[in-house]
Amino acid sequence: MERLTELVTGHKIPVGQGAEWVFDWLTAYAGALFNALAAGMQAMIDAILFVLTAPHPFAVIAAFMALAYALQRRVLISAGIGLGFLFILNQGYWHETMQSLTLVLAACVVCMGLGVPIGIALAHRPRLYAWVRPLLDLMQTLPTFVYLIPAIVFFGIGMVPGLIATVIFVLPAPIRLTQLGIASTPAALREAAVAFGATPRQLLWKVEMPSALPQIMTGLNQTIMLSLSMVVIAALVGASGLGVPVVRALNSVNTALGFESGLVIVVVAIMLDRLLRFRRTS
């Protein structure tokens, strides 16, 4: 028995060293790629942040209310969003909220921009999807702190590594939901379109995408909610925003600060959810 134990524990499989070796190799040879990526993402973050922070808060609030009405056609939702923002302004978290919104929006752009095309491609290749699924599981279940380490190594401290960590965690959601939506397009609808002469591209845009739209919009909603859940973790790698006061409150055991900033995050989450809830007009 002892010898058996020794056999198992005698030679440790070098998982940790392996990962380290990969990351070292990437920093050594793919540094330029990461720098370019970082620069691109930093530019996007700066642009979004500028749009959100340059105008007077009331102008931003009005714009969000108008957007809410345009999307949902309900005065109540529009008014609720206005009240939510006024509450945030009242609590003195306006700037942090805009920084977190920037992170969420940037994550949305990247995740939907990558997730929807990848989801479509996987839906059309069921066998590839079977291979990719474990990778998606890994991205979602690997503790977030673990991939914060290489994120810092590659991208330093700030909003960009926060964004990267967020994207890795969130990306599987839009991929999965898009794949589900496209793959569950009723075969009868596909067949009807093909019988009337649809090309593969027409089939995608005129049948599969409209049919998958509810799932894709759920994917967007999930992307936003999951991104928001990452703001505290992003704060650990130096991303500014609502996570910063939460982390500070935790470190100084400051109940008041913790609840204030926590509640603001909840308010932001509710507002974004209501803003982008998808209802099929029937």
Binding site: L189, A192, F196, G197, P210, R280
Partner: protein, 341 residues
């Protein structure tokens, strides 16, 4: 001229079909072939023509291969062996050998289809569904609108153009399906049990409407049905299928008069004879001047193609009636025939 020709057409699902085809040639049935090769024999050795302007009904129990054969016409199902040819203008095009581009044009302009479950896009309005074929062909929106409006009028759906499809009843949805198929102006129409999902009253009405549309536009229609009465009502000719093979082809009356097998005879036994059988079918042969016919001698004779429904009405008054060209229909004979030989 033929619109569609099936030439010893076989459809096998799942992988290379060589061995399954050999087994099918030996006469094995679908279950035996699946056990031996794991492949599903959809249709084997089907030969059939649809003439221009004709309605041919593929009939059989579910799983007999009707829909499978139908789907070979526009390439939705691959043909393992044999050939399917479809008329495109002056020439017959082989569907299995057609290039992708040719198949695309065939589907856009020459063959359209109506589905059992309608196959309408539920997020689109009625008009946008009817215009689907034209939209896929890249026809401009303005031109589409007028053709869609005209087509909706022919199926009695004026004023419904901007409704969502889901708001419509089943019968109206299938009218949209018909309008969509007619809108491409394809001369060949494939109909896959289009009326089976509808309740009987609506079904009858749509059958009548289809016959009216057919009178106006004369398309070549391949129609799949498991309903014998529907087949006899609509079909100029009927092809009866069993287990993936065509077992008999002919007009309704030929099939009734001379069923080739017990399967066909069984099938035909359950039909409603009122609109199919005629005075000619029921008349006692060569009995023009027999005793007992006397009192009816001065009656105007029935024409031989008077449907049974009218013969019965006439026989309500009398025991027997003469038929043009000789022969007599007797009430007792008709009753005996109807209650099962």
């Amino acid at each position: 001229m033929n619109a569609i020709e099936f030439d010893n057409c076989s459809v096998i699902f799942g992988g290379r079909p060589d061995r399954s085809l050999d087994l099918a040639d030996e006469g094995l049935d679908r279950a035996a072939i699946e056990e031996a090769t794991g492949q599903v024999m959809g249709v084997h050795d089907a030969t059939l023509e649809v003439a221009e302007g004709e309605i041919v009904v593929l009939m059989g129990l579910s799983g007999s291969g009707k829909s499978t054969l139908l789907r070979a016409v526009n390439g939705l199902n691959p043909v393992a062996r044999g050939d399917v040819r479809v008329r495109m203008g002056d020439q017959m095009i082989s569907v299995p050998a057609a290039s992708r581009d040719m198949l695309h044009r065939l589907r856009l302009n020459h063959v359209s289809m109506v589905f059992q479950q309608f196959g309408l896009l539920p997020w689109r309005s009625v008009a946008d569904n009817v215009g689907l074929g034209m939209e896929l062909a890249g026809i401009a929106k303005a031109q589409r609108r007028s053709r869609v409006a005209a087509q909706l009028a022919t199926v009695g759906l004026e004023g419904w153009a901007d409704r969502q499809v889901q708001e419509l009843s089943g019968g109206m949805q299938q009218r949209v399906g018909l309008a969509r198929a007619f809108a491409t102006e394809a001369p060949i129409l494939l109909m896959d049990e289009p009326f089976s999902a509808l309740d009987p009253l609506i079904r009858t009405r749509l059958q009548d409407e289809l016959m009216e549309l057919q009178r106006q536009t004369r398309r070549s229609i391949l129609f799949v049905s498991h309903d014998l009465d529907e087949a006899f009502k609509l079909g100029n000719r009927i092809a009866l299928m069993e287990g993936g093979r065509i077992v008999q082809t002919g007009t309704a009356r030929q099939i009734i008069a001379d069923p080739v097998s017990d399967y066909v005879a069984d099938f035909v036994a359950h039909m409603n004879p009122l609109d199919v059988l005629t005075a000619g079918d029921l008349s006692a042969r060569g009995a023009g001047g027999r005793a007992g016919a006397g009192p009816q001698a001065e009656e105007a004779p029935l024409s031989a193609d008077t449907p049974l429904r009218q013969v019965l009405a006439a026989l309500a008054e009398r025991e027997a009636l003469p038929v043009q060209g000789g022969g007599v229909v007797r009430r007792a004979d008709v009753l005996r025939r109807l209650t099962g030989r």
